[in-house]
Amino acid sequence: MEKPNPKRSLSNHRISRRSFMAGVGAGTVCVAASSRLFASGGGEKEEEVINADSLSKLSLHINARDHHLLVEPRWSLLYVLREKLGLTGTKEGCSRGECGACTVLIGHVPRYACLTLALEAEGAEITTVEGLLNGEELGAVQTAFAEEDAFQCGYCTPGQIMSVEGLLRKNPSPTTEEIRIAVSGNLCRCGAYSHIFKAAEKAAKARSK
């Protein structure tokens, strides 16, 4: 198992992914007794078995605000954002890591919220498309998408925007090829890609001013 990186804070919580995966098939989830055990990667004998739909306390840090809620350990971050917190800018397209409509930033890194358990995201800095707004004002990437008509139905758009946002935070002046790669995990069935490339280029310029 990959050693958890406390800076990313993505896996730094009470449930081990391995025991979760082992338990989920039987409709139950194993919860490790303490995070110390998780860090050592062992200690199954001290795990207790809980029902899949029993609730755990969770704090999420989203768009610079804290949210405290009760979640089932199996709930994805996507489900919690959309159905429990009303942050419906993050979209559901497949729930299996294929389309990218649910892309959010964890730290500064674009991640699929459908493949991230809500519990995994505890302690992480999460940014959704709503978090790019400054009050009612659009962020640079959002503005560029609007101006370049870099969408059609708009459903994949928040995910595309978050992937571009993540790219520009890492690489402020990307080439078209780098933009293509950055959004290659975001499907757009309407086929707005070439306008998305333009919007990303425009946003990069706007941000560097």
């Binding site: 709930w75 397209g93 299996r96 101006e147 758009t157 293509r180 086929g191 070439s194």
Partner: protein, 767 residues
């Protein structure tokens, strides 16, 4: 008036007089970002799948895992056990297992015989989505698995399992004009070739589904749909409710491409679960189910025989197609011969299309039904004919451009056709001749080969038509609200309509707010499909704006005590023609102040008689083939479109790049794979295995070139449809470019590395 830009305003026609074409436009035709861009990029747009209501439950539908099976017994005991399950419904209960039909073939919501993988078997509602799926998984079903046929090419074999009792043949449609045998006799060259395109699935990004809620006996459904009124009428019919008690809302929707034109069983199921529980129910399909049960572009097995004279005159076309709409009547060969019948001048034409049943999900209209398949055959054939007679492909097509519709009874002329200009201007802008010379002269040393290809198209409809009604409301401060039933499926309909109203009234487009796609509060509209929404709604909106102007002129005439014919509406004010010093500001008209609003009701006028309204397109592309790996890179695309008046230059381009991108999917990446030999199940029911074009598969260089010919006869906006024509010729143009690059005719889609590398290998062996 505060909300105008001082732009000239078109003359207001007298009552009873039809407005003439706009002589100039200052808003329409310019590039304009969308009126709802903010909502779509900020995340604040509420799509149906975003709806969360107080006390809302989640629905889940259990679907048949077999392509053909009898449901012997459904045991819901275990499903009802978990504490947070609120309802389970299934077959056999007359209250919930309601009649359903696919065209004239009757079945039920939860059929006893499932004829395709993914037919509904039972449904549950629970407190959370996860619990709903737990419960659906706990329903025990005894199936008697029946033999299946999952390949349309075997459906008519004698021992093929029967999908329906009366056999697997649904119908054969034939068409003929002239005498094809005579035509082949007159030809200098006759070629015959078999072609096949694979089935594609729509898979719009927003899942199919809805939220249903009852207030007493009034049902409200928020549905991701292309037509709220279509959903309303089917739901009302199946549930036996008056239309007034079914409200369907679909303000935003995340793509449909034809798969959300019709009503599905899931909407009825959600309503029944909501009724049973007395709670709102949200029920969206999981992605896999949309691959199985929400429609497809049928596979087409086509044979085309064509004759041409040495000078390029087409003499005869003989076309057969075998297709399938899946397990129910669903248009398996719908319009699949239209390009053959109508696109190029040809005196002798015969087509025969056979639609058969197989045990697979029913087809649904998919962006230009039938057309891209037909184009794949016809446009590759034209290139082969051009080569055989030593003629340039563009020149061959130009030789055979009609100005009337040969495929229709009575040969009605097109109101306008820019097909010739599409070919000429497209070739010029693309640099066709130079590019052809370059690819012909390229060195054959390396492993990379360039090729260029092109193709043309006509779209069967695209002129729109009645009925449509809209209401335009001018507020007392001069801002306006447009009330329209049509859905904006992502094409920018709302923006175009704001531009039309703005043009006619002299208003700034951003001062017009749009309420739309709600059967409770907006006017009747047919579903958004067929590239008909703009040519249907734009004239309707213009009519409503004219009504507003006429009403204001009438009010001003009374107030100023001048004859109405003497007055002119300028946008800011109303001025006397005879005494220009006499004028009144719109916002000062006391009638407007007193009433609060002035309302204009617009109706869609009739289409011209004895003429047909169709859009045209030609596309050109350049590709690079890696002869070592079989990889295909599409380097650039150019699309010339004659769609009448260009309404919004920015969203025009978006349609072009979207249509080309989708066409690249048909050409190179997409195919539904059914395990025909063993289980009959779909094996690539997800976006990992069913490959949509991604950002790495399309060129950044996709250019839209409008051939602008405002169509004065078509309707009072001059616009024709665009969304479908742009995807018809794409795949064929790619195939022609691949041939130009490596000399291999790829007659079966998709041109993926597996197929291309094996064909290259074969070519090498054959020398």
């Amino acid at each position: 008036m505060y909300y105008t830009e001082g732009l000239p305003v078109p003359e207001t026609p007298s009552p009873g007089e039809t407005p003439g074409p706009w002589e100039r436009t200052d808003v329409v035709g310019k590039p304009r970002p969308r009126v709802d861009a903010y909502e779509r990029v900020s995340g604040t747009a509420v799509y149906p799948s975003d709806i969360v209501l107080p006390r809302m439950l989640y629905g889940a539908i259990l679907r048949c895992p077999h392509p053909h099976a009898q449901v012997k017994k459904v045991d819901t005991t275990a499903a009802e056990a978990p504490p947070r399950v609120r309802a389970v419904i299934g077959p056999g209960d007359p209250k919930t297992d309601l009649p359903w039909s696919f065209r004239d073939v009757k079945t039920t919501l939860f059929p006893k015989t499932c004829r395709f993988e993914g037919e509904p078997v039972a449904a549950v509602a629970a407190e959370t989505l996860y619990q709903a799926w737990d419960a659906a998984g706990a329903v025990r079903v005894d199936y008697k698995v029946l033999p299946h046929v999952s390949d349309e090419r075997r459906a008519l074999e004698k021992d093929a399992p029967k999908v329906h009792e009366n056999g697997n043949k649904l119908k054969t449609d034939t068409y003929s004009r002239g005498d094809v045998e005579k035509g082949f006799f007159e030809a200098d060259v006759v070629l015959e070739q078999h072609y096949r395109t694979e089935a594609e699935v729509h898979t719009p990004l927003e899942l199919h589904g809805c939220v249903a809620n009852w207030d007493g006996d009034v049902l409200t459904i928020w549905e991701s749909t292309q037509g709220v009124y279509a959903v309303q009428s089917r739901v009302a019919e199946v549930l036996g409710l008056p239309l007034s008690k079914v409200r369907v809302i679909g303000h935003y929707m995340g793509g449909g491409f034809g798969s959300k034109l019709q009503t599905s069983r899931y909407s009825i199921v959600a309503a029944l679960l909501a009724k049973k529980t007395g709670r709102p129910v949200k029920s969206f399909l999981p992605r896999e189910a949309t691959f199985l049960a929400m429609g497809n572009r049928p596979p087409s097995n086509m044979t085309l025989k064509a004759g041409v004279k040495k000078d390029g005159t087409l003499t005869a076309l003989s076309f057969t197609c075998l297709g399938t709409g899946g397990a129910y009547p669903a248009g398996g060969t719908s319009l699949v011969d239209w390009q053959i019948r109508d696109l190029y001048l040809c005196p002798h034409v015969r087509t025969e299309c056979t639609d058969v049943y197989i045990n697979a999900g029913p087809a649904r209209p998919f962006r230009a039904p039938g057309h891209p398949q037909c184009s794949w055959a016809l446009e590759q054939m034209l290139d082969a004919l051009a080569e055989a007679i030593g003629m340039d492909p563009v020149a061959l097509r130009l030789k055979n451009v009609p100005d009337y519709s040969q495929g229709r009874e009575g040969n009605p002329p097109y109101t306008t056709t820019g097909l010739k200009q599409c070919f000429k201007e497209g070739a010029r802008r693309f640099g066709w001749e130079k590019a052809r010379r370059k690819t012909a002269g390229q060195e054959k040393k390396g492993h990379l080969r360039r090729g260029v290809g092109m193709a043309g198209s006509v779209w069967f409809v695209g002129g729109g038509g009645p009925p449509s009604t809209v209401i335009l409301k001018l507020f007392s401060d001069g801002s306006a609200n447009l009330n329209m039933g049509a859905s904006d499926i992502g094409t920018g309909t709302k923006t175009v309509m704001a531009m039309v109203a703005a043009e006619e009234l002299g208003l700034r487009p951003e001062m017009i707010r749009i309420e739309h796609a709600d059967t409770g509060t907006t006017q009747y509209a047919t579903p958004s499909g067929g590239s008909k929404t703009v040519p249907t709604e734009a004239p309707t909106v213009r009519d409503a704006a004219v009504q507003v102007k006429r009403r204001l002129l009438q009010m001003a005439a009374e107030e100023m005590d001048l004859p109405v014919e003497d007055l002119r509406y300028t946008g800011d004010d109303i001025v006397s023609r005879s005494r220009p010093d006499r004028r009144i500001r719109i916002v000062d008209i006391s009638g407007l102040k007193r009433q609060g609003v002035v309302v204009g009701v617009g109706h869609r006028g009739p289409n011209p008689e004895k003429k047909t309204v169709n859009p045209f397109c030609a596309q050109f592309c350049e590709v690079e083939v890696n002869t070592r790996t079989g990889e295909l890179r599409i380097l650039r695309f150019l699309s010339t479109n004659e769609s009448g008046r260009v309404m919004n230059r920015l969203t025009f381009d978006s349609q072009v790049i979207g249509g080309v991108t989708m066409g690249i999917g048909l050409a190179a990446t997409e195919m539904r794979i059914l395990d025909a030999n063993r289980t009959g199940k779909m094996v690539n029911r997800n976006w990992h295995d069913y490959k949509l074009p991604t950002s790495l598969d399309v060129p950044a260089d996709i250019v839209g070139v409008p051939i602008e010919m405002p169509d004065a006869e078509a309707n009072i906006s001059g616009a024709k449809g665009l969304g479908e024509p742009v995807t018809i010729p794409t795949a064929a143009a790619v195939a022609n470019a691949v041939y130009d690059a490596v000399g291999i005719r790829i007659t079966e889609s998709p041109i993926n590395p597996l197929k291309l590398s094996s064909l290259l290998e074969q070519q090498k062996k054959e020398g």
